[in-house]
């Protein structure tokens, strides 16, 4: 009789960001024979959301570990995009899963914003428009959030993915992700080319000149700082920030 799967801390945790293709990427990873979803096959456990309201105990940590069964030779993980934005979570992740590898998928923050506003309003219909809009802007402050993650986690165990690179070269970025996670890289995923969960163009929040000015004032410093923090982001691929790419900045 085969042994029951063992549980333990997750091998990997996706911590960001919402509306950036993380569902597509997580599902793609789950197609790999060595990668297991958490119990219940949920992508987003939101386990740490509750610990802004109370302290994380040793029993909570054990309960978190119980959510990740896997057989020998397999790895397990989850991907909750808000972990990176919730300021209390990076530190708790370091307590609950100190060895876990972390994944972040970044997307052009203004495109993320355009998808994030309708998403928030559809999930919480009673949310005020200004609160939903402000939230969607704040979630695009990537450098600020990454700094908080790096305050508690070693850069070497962090993989930064760029959504636009994954769209342009899914097979190459998939392989890169598998290498980082330490599983076999020979697997070919048949659904890799099929993106899911994208917002229809008609639902995206429209932009106008003043709004764009406000968004750029808030997000340009963040994008510039992010590009300085990591080599993994090619700003030229973000159409709203391509003017910040080194080749486009006048000397």
């Amino acid at each position: 009789m085969p042994a029951a799967p063992a549980t333990g801390p997750p091998d990997f945790i996706g911590v960001g960001t919402q509306r950036s293709g993380t569902t597509w990427w997580f599902r793609t990873l789950l197609g790999h024979p060595q990668i297991r979803a958490p119990r219940g096959r949920r992508k987003e456990l939101h386990y740490f959301d509750q610990f802004c309201g109370r302290e994380l105990t040793a029993a909570d940590v054990a309960e978190y570990h119980e959510l990740f069964p896997r057989k020998p030779g397999q790895i397990a993980g989850e991907w909750t995009p808000r972990y990176m934005h919730d300021f209390w979570t990076p530190r708790l992740l370091a307590r609950a899963a100190p060895e876990a590898k972390l994944l972040i998928m970044f997307r052009d923050p203004i495109e993320r914003f355009r998808s994030g506003v309708p998403h928030r309003l559809s999930r919480t219909p009673d949310a005020r428009m200004e609160a939903a809009t402000a939230d969607a802007i704040e979630r695009g402050r990537y450098a600020t959030q990454l700094r908080r993650v790096l305050a508690y986690h070693d850069e070497a165990k962090l993989l930064i993915l760029q959504y636009e690179k994954c769209v342009a070269d899914p097979a190459g970025q998939y392989r890169r992700t598998l290498e980082f996670l330490g599983v076999g890289t020979e697997h070919r995923h048949e659904e890799l080319e099929r993106r899911r969960g994208t917002t229809q163009a008609a639902q995206k929040k429209p932009l106008w000149g003043d709004l764009m000015d406000g968004l750029l004032a808030a997000l340009e410093p963040e994008v510039a700082e992010l590009a300085a923090m990591t080599q993994e982001i090619d700003v030229a691929l973000w159409k709203n920030f391509a003017h910040l790419a080194p080749e486009n900045v006048p000397a």
Binding site: D49, A134, L211, P221
Partner: protein, 258 residues
């Protein structure tokens, strides 16, 4: 630009931040000055630009905004909406609607306010509800907000006040505010500031908060080590950035950042 029929026009000053930093108290004191008029609606916070996250600001909207500020000759008028500085869409609109306005910002220790909001939200929480405070840290990221505000307004047009300094030296900071606003009588002292201390003792707490600017400090919650450490990790870089932007900010007055 033609003036609206009610004698209104662009505000002379707009307070743009920050929520929960004693802005009602300070605006109230400003309105005690004989040369300073309230908006026509007599509300401190018009929240006029909130809705323009979802629609464009038209010329008619700008004219409507100006109608809020009728004033007699020799007086100035303005409003103070604490969220304008936080809402990234507002500074470019404000520049369109009130390009010559002087801006006021009142800041207070970001973690003290966090504690107060934390206690308040906790007390209202249903049993099965989770408590989120992400938005409060976003709102208290003053350094980032001031930096983006300065893209639309010259720093010389923005007065950054510190709540704790105003509490400690209300007359001095009041005079400084009047000088910045350019009123003639800068020696004026509102009656409320002539009898300091009395109001604190006799007023019910809510009214006391409004009139004296005292924050909800008696209801603040203790934070455990993980939460407090995370809060510092989140806010310390922003406070450092704020200090670079406002060199005369006295961080020593902020108990959590001494």
């Amino acid at each position: 630009m033609s003036r609206p029929e009610n004698g209104g026009g662009p505000p002379d000053f707009v307070g743009v931040g920050a929520l929960g930093s004693g802005v009602a108290w300070w605006h109230g004191l400003l309105l005690a000055h004989p040369e300073i008029e309230p908006p026509a609606a007599r509300r401190r916070a018009l929240h006029f630009f909130d809705r323009f996250c979802a629609q464009e600001l038209t010329h008619a909207d700008v004219a409507e905004y100006h109608e809020h500020f009728p004033r007699r000759p020799g007086t100035i008028s303005g409003e103070w909406t604490g969220r304008y500085m936080f809402d990234a869409w507002t500074p470019p609109l404000l520049r369109r609607a009130a390009p010559d306005a002087k801006l006021l910002v009142m800041l207070s220790d970001p973690i003290e306010r966090f504690r107060a909001v934390y206690a308040e939200r906790r007390s209202k929480l249903a049993d099965d509800e989770r408590l989120y405070m992400t938005d409060v840290v976003d709102r208290r990221s003053f350094g980032a907000q001031l930096a983006r505000l300065r893209r639309f307004y010259d720093p010389g047009r923005i007065l950054v006040l510190q709540f704790e300094r105003c509490r400690r030296d209300p007359r001095g900071q009041y005079r400084r505010t009047l000088e910045f606003l350019g009123v003639r009588d800068t020696a004026f002292v509102p009656r409320r500031l002539r009898r300091t201390g009395l109001l604190d003792r006799v007023l019910p707490r809510r009214a006391g908060e409004r009139l004296t600017g005292r924050p909800l400090s008696d209801r603040t919650a203790p934070l455990w080590s993980d939460l407090e450490a995370s809060l510092r990790t989140a806010l310390e870089p922003d406070v450092a950035a704020l200090q670079r932007l406002v060199p005369d900010l006295d961080v020593g007055l902020w108990p959590n950042f001494r």
